[in-house]
């Protein structure tokens, strides 16, 4: 009996009431946007707080499921605390999904901005880091979700995670950002989010004629922790090939059967090896890309009668595909040279193979980047053409 009494007492005494957090008193922040404030040196932080009752009610139409809370301050943390002067719930950041940073802030360097979020330990490593291209971060968070998800942050997250179907965009987690910035010989490329407009159709029952969407396109390249430029989609293809982040994607090639038509190839799998070669104290890099793909579309009208013809056709498509990938890779390399930012990780590859050489050159590496020779080898295997043997021809 005495023991039971002791245990019961402990239950009440050892619960840690000092740090209790009542779920009814915290606001769950799902996305953070950070902008420059109106005055110089000021930072404007926007937090997207989910309204649990609305979000739960399966997307009520009258009321938005999120609130945007924002305030400014000299530091990020000051701004976050100041929000509470105007907002009734204490914000909780552990469930944050996305951090959006405006481009003018990113150009000055991200480490000071992200410091308080990382230090607090509440923002997890898998949070997505994005740059608002040509827009304010708060505007990106303010776009109404036009997907299925009712919570805007989940909509953003969904778009960012769709990178795995699409090699035209880059994505980056906070942990990867830190790993690359604090590591040696490689700089990060973050997602770049744009706001675009599209016309509405009557079936969507929208009172506006145009709707704003968020588009994930290309990438935002950094030197150290500073944004130095954007990659367009072709350059992003090249970037993804080189860093091995192509999981899937569509390559469009001119059809070999009928002129003026196109064929699509879906990438199934890709792998890459960057090898530094040191010859007479000169460095060059070989980039060895292997791609497995299938033909998913052939617009050209015509017929490939024999298996031999079909096989020949695949071989030719492989050659075309290889040419295109090589071109994309070269474009990405040229972009890196132009931005003087080694976001492709040549330095890191050099460090892994020839650490002494890297230690000698790492100080002038960014400046020397334009002298780097790159040899690209691409090997494409087309495995087939899905469920059809050849293309069709109207009789």
């Amino acid at each position: 009996m005495k023991r039971v009494g002791c245990i019961l007492c402990s239950l009440f005494l050892l619960t840690g009431c000092w740090d209790k957090q009542e779920i009814k008193k915290i606001g769950f922040v799902l996305a953070i946007g950070i902008d420059k404030g109106p005055k110089s040196g000021e930072i404007l932080v926007t937090a997207q707080v989910v309204d649990p009752e609305v979000a739960q009610g399966e997307g009520s139409i009258e009321k938005s499921s999120v609130k945007l809370v924002r305030n400014k301050g000299k530091t990020v943390f000051q701004a976050i605390r100041k929000m509470l002067q105007e907002f009734d719930r204490k914000n909780h950041y552990a469930h944050n999904k996305v951090i959006v940073i405006s481009e003018d802030l990113a150009k000055e360097g991200l480490l000071p901005i992200l410091d308080s979020l990382k230090r607090g330990g509440e923002v997890r490593g898998y949070v997505w880091l994005c740059i608002a291209k040509g827009a304010k971060a708060r505007e990106v968070l303010g776009v109404k979700p036009e997907g299925i998800e009712t919570v805007q942050a989940n909509y953003l997250k969904g778009i960012i995670e769709n990178q795995k179907f699409n090699h035209s965009s880059a994505n980056l987690t906070i942990l990867d950002f830190y790993k690359k910035v604090l590591g040696t010989g490689i700089y990060p490329v973050a997602s770049s989010l744009q706001i675009i407009q599209k016309n509405n159709y009557p079936v969507e029952e929208n009172s506006e004629t145009k709707t704003e969407y968020i588009k994930l396109s290309g990438g935002a390249a950094f030197r150290k922790d500073q944004l130095v430029g954007y990659l367009n989609e072709t350059e992003t293809h090249g970037y993804n090939w080189i860093v091995g982040k192509v999981k899937s994607g569509i390559i469009v090639l001119p059809s070999l059967i009928e002129k003026g038509k196109s064929a699509s190839i879906e990438i199934i799998k890709s792998s890459v090896k960057i090898k530094p070669v040191l010859k007479e104290n000169k460095i060059y890099f070989t980039i060895d890309i292997h791609e497995k793909a299938v033909i998913v579309e052939e617009q050209g009208r015509g017929q490939l009668k024999t298996s031999k013809e079909r096989f020949q056709y695949f071989k030719k498509m492989e050659k075309e595909n290889e040419k295109l990938v090589r071109k994309e890779v070269i474009q990405a390399v040229n972009k890196a040279k132009k931005l003087r930012s080694d976001f492709l990780g040549f330095g890191s590859a050099l460090n892994k193979k020839y650490p002494t050489k890297w230690n000698e050159t790492k100080k002038e590496w960014d400046a020397q980047l334009s002298d780097i020779q790159v040899i690209v080898k691409v090997d494409v295997t087309i495995r087939g053409a899905r469920e059809m043997k050849g293309s069709f021809k109207a009789q």
Binding site: W18, G121, Y126, K352, P355
Partner: protein, 363 residues
């Protein structure tokens, strides 16, 4: 702690050795090669362990304080034993203090340190007071839980998206120099701390199995430490790992499997508490044994409570905050770099004397 069985000894050593290593990036000055440092330190640890178990072979029924007394006589023995008592006491204080502080940093920001520490120390004192068998049996009971939490978090980190083994490259990029430089520190902590078991081996019931069991537990602990360090570096990279207060927390928080398995900080708390408890309780008990031998106090209970109060007092009034404690430790190691290794080296000297003694008496 009379009559520790073979299994219990195994559990105690494993828990003690892994104990607080989860808090640090060991050998961080060697960067991505730190696992090599740990590997080498483990082998030096084997040599030390062999020496220590050899002493136990010669004096199976005595703990270190008694051995020192027999070999050196009262006048040299007393200060030496006092030195060991101080070392173990300080180690226990560090464990006690660090675990409390890390608790505060990671989850209980506003809870007064006195409450966290108080609950901790009361548990320790209680466990030691209520019977000799409690600590080893608890070790036997909690080891599976400890290993489950630690290994699960490691496995989950490996299959999570952030694991990148190439962070370990280049291997030996800066040559052997940084490795050799970091080696002494890692040898002393955690592997050299096994010296505390010189106080405990006398309680083991099967004396013959001591060496085998100790080596087994020791090498398993070494392997687990190496694996966790490799995971930490592969997930965080050396830059972030060296900069984190608790690298393992950072690793565990970055786990996200399909948006379902995530936010596992509770795993870390379990690892911290089980590991920290045993690390501290063993150091604590070693200090109690040394001090009660020194002061001829027959009632160990009195000594346990006294040392417990001293641990609290020292932690709160001297160490104060974590940065302050780290500064004290750094200053101390800078001032007397030899002092950290001396506790590991003295037993070697003892063994030499034992062997010489045997030879002279034989002839």
């Amino acid at each position: 702690m009379n009559q520790i069985t073979k299994n219990q000894l195994f559990c105690l050593i494993l828990l003690y050795e892994i104990g607080s290593t989860t808090l640090f990036l060991l050998g961080d000055s060697a960067k991505q090669d730190s696992w090599i440092v740990i590997f080498l330190a483990m082998w030096i640890g084997f040599i030390l362990l062999w020496v220590y178990t050899e002493i136990t072979k010669h004096f199976p029924e005595d703990h270190l304080a008694e051995v020192i007394n027999i070999l050196f006589g009262k006048w040299i023995a007393k200060p030496l034993i006092f030195l060991y008592a101080g070392y173990l006491f300080y180690d226990a204080c560090l464990n006690f203090f660090e675990f409390g502080e890390i608790m505060r940093i990671t989850s209980l920001m506003k809870t007064p340190p006195f409450i966290i520490g108080g609950v901790f120390i009361v548990t320790v004192i209680y466990m030691l007071l209520i019977g000799q068998q409690v600590v080893p049996r608890t070790a036997e009971m909690l080891l599976p839980a400890f290993l489950f939490f630690l290994l699960t978090s490691l496995v989950l980190s490996v299959i999570s998206q952030h694991f990148d083994i190439t962070q370990l490259q280049p291997i030996l990029g800066n040559g052997m120099a940084p490795i050799l430089k970091a080696l002494p520190k890692v040898t002393i902590f955690p592997f050299g701390e096994i010296v505390v078991f010189l106080f405990l081996w006398k309680f083991v019931d099967e004396k013959k199995s001591i060496r085998f069991t100790s080596f087994l537990a020791f090498s398993l602990a070494g392997i687990i430490i190496i694996l966790s360090q490799i995971t930490i570096i592969s997930v965080l990279g050396t830059g972030l790992a060296a900069n984190s207060m608790v690298p393992l927390l950072e690793v565990i928080l970055s786990i996200n499997l399909g948006d379902i398995i995530m936010n596992l900080d509770v795993f870390l708390i379990a690892i911290l508490f089980i590991g920290g408890l045993f690390k501290m309780i063993i150091n604590f008990y070693g200090a109690v044994l040394a001090l009660s031998y020194l002061s001829n106090v027959k009632k160990q209970k009195f000594m346990i409570i006294l040392v417990g109060i001293c641990v609290i007092g020292y932690s709160f009034f001297h160490l104060k905050t974590l940065p302050h404690q780290r500064e004290i430790t750094e200053d101390a190691t800078a001032l007397w770099p030899w002092v950290m290794g001396i506790y590991q080296i003295i037993p070697i000297y003892i063994l030499v004397i034992i062997v010489l003694n045997k030879k002279t008496t034989n002839t």
